[in-house]
């Protein structure tokens, strides 16, 4: 039996969220930034799915029997734009922090193998 579209999308979002959270709990800034980005993807698909999943529905008001909900599409666009901007900022911040403290540890702890800075 084919699993339903809802089941596939829901598990997909769940899996991506798990990956995002796992990455965010890492101790280096790069995986944390990646984790935030991945979590952002999961959230965006989640918003999109909250307008329900449609097949063969018109994307916007037309003559068909069914019309997909356009509002979450507008919401997700806004969320993507904001997420893009904040990702850009957090990458720059992580680089600056690495430059200033000499380590990419999130708490600014010196690396033991290098004997600290």
């Amino acid at each position: 039996m084919m699993p339903s579209m809802e089941f596939l999308v829901a598990t997909g979002i769940g899996w991506v969220t798990v990956c995002g959270i796992w990455l965010m709990l890492r101790g280096r800034t790069f995986p944390v930034v990646l984790g935030l980005t991945v979590l952002g993807y999961a959230v965006n698909v989640f918003i999109f799915a909250m307008g329900r999943l449609w097949s063969n529905a018109q994307p916007i008001v037309g003559n068909g029997p069914q019309i997909a909900d356009p509002l979450p599409q507008a919401l997700v666009l806004t969320a993507i734009v904001i997420g893009f901007a904040t990702t850009g900022f957090v990458i720059e911040l992580a680089l600056r922090s690495r430059h200033e403290s000499g380590t990419d540890h999130v708490d600014g702890r010196p690396d033991p193998q290098e004997g600290g800075t």
Binding site: L36, G62, L75, I82, G108
Partner: protein
């Protein structure tokens, strides 16, 4: 012309800082250097002029809202709930006025030196004001998210203003935590939309009571997710540990401005969990009542323990902020008109006092040589009488000694809690928190001004006039709340009543759709015609 300008009043607190920020970006800021000084001075004047204009607009809004008028501004004339609306009621007007009252002296203070310690301070400050004002006037939850992001991204850069290792270290934590909170915010909003078909606050208050059965449980999960998000911004325990590190690391004027930023979280909890998920929310009614009061009590307790344990002055003030947020949320968690009135009065007072304290402790620290802001004996400060009296005033007000506004606010809260099931707990914690913060502040104050070491070189000069004026303005504004306690109390009571009046709010926003009987939105079914 003037008629139409009055109609546009609700949107002006957002447009004015936005336009000013763009202007300031055009003026430019190339960092240090002599050639940049004229640009900096010009930027400072533009920013302060704009803040002054903002204050006038805020006062006008405050007075108009005081008549009981609900100002509804439809963006692009789209009818609610389909377009975005801005709604200014008494609560929003107070918050906008409070933002202006904090912004003006903080800008004046920053122009005395801090603004030159990095680039684009004034422009970022204006973007932050735009986000704050927008969050306070919007009547749409998704729009609230957008303004949250505007004020947050400005706050990320402002927090780092002046740079340095400690600021960058704390800044990374602050930004990452806030971005995760934003992700949760979006999940909560998407769930709310999926179950109600709307994100307009007035429409949500209509739709939420209609959700029943298993859907109501999912709806409550969404609301609790939003409590986590707003509680994080407001520093509600156990999500309050980030605040002292962040605020203490930020430069003084930025920390003072952040005193109002914390209140955005409080405001959002009030609107969403106090009103939309309030007494009339059907199956989801009074959703956070069992949670909010105990957590607020815990916040207050953690806050005063922090005040007692603080090793530096900015940390002490930051923990004082946490304790005051606990007190405000306790009042909101009591869910009564009287308690909400106390919450609004205490919120206004504590914001002004805490902002003033952040500026004041930097003035004190600057005159203590190498010891700086650490609470240790040091050489005597250059202006002990003036700084000492200012600190005494601010401290007495924040611990709640009569006749200062902190006392009035706490008294209003204690009176309002009478008859409530948890009245004993509220009384104990409020009084004990007041006493313990008195101890903490007395310890700090006596170390600063009495326990001085004459063997250390003093040599510090007095603070310059703009810095003292700015700090004095905030403390004076706080004391003025005591002088005008009568009218302000009437205003806050009316504001609390207005918040509880769902019908007036629905009529104002959804009048054409039938107010509380509006049935324009529902979870989307995708059928053209028929149900739509």
């Amino acid at each position: 012309m003037s008629m139409s300008l009055i109609d546009q009043l609700p949107v002006l607190p957002v447009l004015l800082p936005a336009a000013t920020a763009v202007l300031l970006l055009l003026i430019g800021d190339h960092g240090g250097g002599e050639h940049n000084l004229r640009r900096q001075t010009l930027s400072g004047r533009v920013a302060i002029g704009s803040a002054l204009l903002g204050l006038i607009i805020a006062i006008q809004l405050f007075l108009q809202a005081g008549d009981g008028m609900l100002m509804v501004y439809r963006m692009g004339e789209w009818p609610a709930p389909f377009g975005i609306v801005l709604v200014v009621d008494r609560l929003s007007a107070v918050m906008v006025l409070l933002t202006s009252l904090v912004a003006l002296p903080v800008l004046l203070y920053a122009s005395g030196g801090w603004a030159g310690h990095g680039r684009y301070f004034y422009a970022l400050f204006q973007f932050q004001l735009m986000g704050l004002n927008g969050a306070f006037v919007t009547g749409d939850l998704f729009n609230l998210f957008v303004f949250f992001e505007v004020l947050l991204i400005a706050s990320y850069v402002l927090m780092l203003h002046g740079l340095g290792r400690e600021r960058l270290r704390v800044g990374v934590h602050y930004v990452v935590l806030n971005l995760s909170a934003s992700a949760l915010f979006l999940i909560g909003l998407a769930l709310l939309y999926a179950l109600t078909g709307t994100l307009n606050m007035a429409d949500l208050a209509v739709r939420v009571p209609l959700v029943t059965g298993p859907d109501a449980v999912v709806l409550q999960v969404a609301a609790l997710l939003l409590l986590v998000v707003f509680g994080f911004k407001a520093a509600l325990a156990p999500l309050s540990v980030w605040l002292p590190a962040t605020y203490a690391a930020a430069s003084a004027p930025v920390a003072a401005l952040f005193a109002i930023m914390t209140k955005v979280g409080v405001y959002a909890i009030w609107r969403v969990h106090g009103v939309i998920f309030g007494a009339d929310a059907g199956a989801s009614a009074m959703l956070v009542e069992p949670l909010l009061l105990p957590l607020a009590v815990l916040t207050s307790a953690i806050g005063v323990l922090g005040v007692l344990a603080a090793q530096t002055l900015p940390r002490l003030v930051a923990w004082l902020t946490v304790a005051s947020v606990g007190t405000i949320l306790m009042a909101i968690g009591l869910f009564g008109a009287q308690a909400w009135s106390a919450a609004l009065y205490y919120l206004a007072h504590s914001t002004l006092t805490v902002a003033g304290l952040f500026l004041l402790v930097e003035l004190v620290a600057a005159q203590r040589g190498e010891v700086g802001s650490r609470i240790e004996p040091a050489s005597p400060v250059a202006q002990p009488t003036m700084l000492g009296l200012m600190l005494l005033l601010a401290a007495a007000s924040s611990v709640g000694l009569p006749p200062l506004p902190g006392f009035i606010g706490k008294l209003m809260l204690l009176q309002a809690s009478g008859g409530h099931a948890h009245a004993t707990m509220v009384w104990t914690v409020v009084l004990l928190a007041g006493f313990l913060s008195l101890l903490g502040l007395a310890r700090a104050g006596s170390t600063l001004f009495w326990h001085v070491r004459s063997d250390m070189p003093s040599g510090a000069s007095g603070a310059s006039a703009p810095l003292v004026t700015a700090t004095g303005f905030l403390l004076a504004a706080s004391v003025a709340m005591s002088i005008f306690a009568g009218p302000l109390q009437r205003y806050s009571e009316a504001a609390a009543e207005q918040l509880r009046d769902r019908k007036a709010y629905a009529d104002a926003v959804l009048g054409e759709q039938g107010g509380l009987d509006a049935r324009t939105t529902r979870p989307y079914t995708g059928q053209s015609g028929g149900s739509r």
